[in-house]
Amino acid sequence: MSLRLKVNPIACEAHGMCAEVLPELIALDDWGYPILDERPITPELVDHAKRAAQACPTFALLIERDTPPQREE
């Protein structure tokens, strides 16, 4: 099992807190919305990732367990 970052793009309001807490895996685009490193989070960054999720004022940053691939549509 591995953990990955995911953003709820509807909830995200570009506060940018996540990129401040976790610059290793999160950059901001031209408008301040997060660009995520979607590879499995390495063990040493898991705690930072959890802190980044807690720092989000709109709870838009999610940490997801790997699930079987969802169908696209």
Partner: protein, 439 residues
Amino acid sequence: MSPRADIALPRLLAGMPAHGAMGLAEHRASSGELPYTTRRERRGAGALIDLVEQAGLRGRGGAAFPVARKLRAVTAAGGRTPLGKRPIVLANAAEGEPASAKDRLLLESLPHLVLDGGVLAARAVGADELIVCVEASAGAALQSVTRALSERERAGGDGLRIGIQTVPEGYVSGQESALVNLCNGGPAKPTLTPPMPFQRGVRRRPTLINNAETLAHLTLIARHGPHWFRALGTPADPGSALLTLSGAVSHPGVYEIEHGAPLQSLIEAAGGTTSPIRAVLLGGYGGTWLDGASIPELLLSNDRLACDGASLGAGVIVLLSAEACPVAEVTRATRWLAEQSSGQCGPCVNGLDAIAGALEEVLAGQPSAGVGKRIAHWSTLAKGRGACRHPDGVVSFVASALEVFAEELADHARHGPCDACVGPHVLPLPTPIELAAAA
């Protein structure tokens, strides 16, 4: 088209009345009684999913997803929920694509063909409710469905609740999660998935959403079987399909073709072109532009078009005349698509607006430095970063336009608007677009 196709087509549009809708009695006389009707038969309705799987039917709403897999997913999810949480089926006729007319035509002319498919799908997945989703602006289709439903009621009903949901006009309001949102009392805007509608949809029940044309095919598969269905089409993309052809052609309209048929034969069936063709748009405003020179080689099925990076999408084909200005067409459509964003996801709202703005600069002959690179950059930022695939579709539309119309774009960037810029518009847009930069 091949002689064999001539014998077997039309299928869906067979017996289509010149005016008004085919009534229930006439529909039953031509299409037969609905299978899986008695209580005992209904217990075996799951067998229909096997038929659909053998037929290889793919969804006709744009994504071409295998229908049997969807049916199975909903059936399985229904089996996991407590009793009283039976699945719900949505028949999706909310096209959203301004250049598409096929689902509206089906509801207006052959409502029972679609309703039969919805009822059969409901029986197959164990649903007790069917909701027909129709655009609020499609008055004739709404009337036709309403009348068809009362006809069925008078004939004894279908043993399940059938309702109509009107859908507000909008490019993304017919998207699956937007329909679920709407049926649940929310706005017709997409939501974050998962949960997918088949997991948790309308009133938290497993929800099957099929395009209206898809359901019409399902009706015919239930009647004629998978072998009959596969007698037309390609092995990967079997059966026939409804396409909406428009642009520089003598008789624009909805045509039923065999999957894999040459585009050239469709154009001939529509009375030929009315001018030389500069380019063809395949799949709608989230689709792909191809150079007009490629038309003689194009075969109309998703497996064949994939070689050109295109797909049929929801069956939209627009022929762009060499006399029209592609830069003005693409810019107007892109601005409209940017405005059609549901406004929920930052990368879509900002990215599409930025891309449309850059195209407007090019059209006006006042591009800022590196405009091509900036469009590519914003495309990367918009793609895959919305809750729905609206930004992805617009990015594909624009990227293929940049490639096919490179010459015209360079010319506008240098010299500004051309004579054809003010010509009649080809791509239909439900709301008029004023281009600030071109004024």
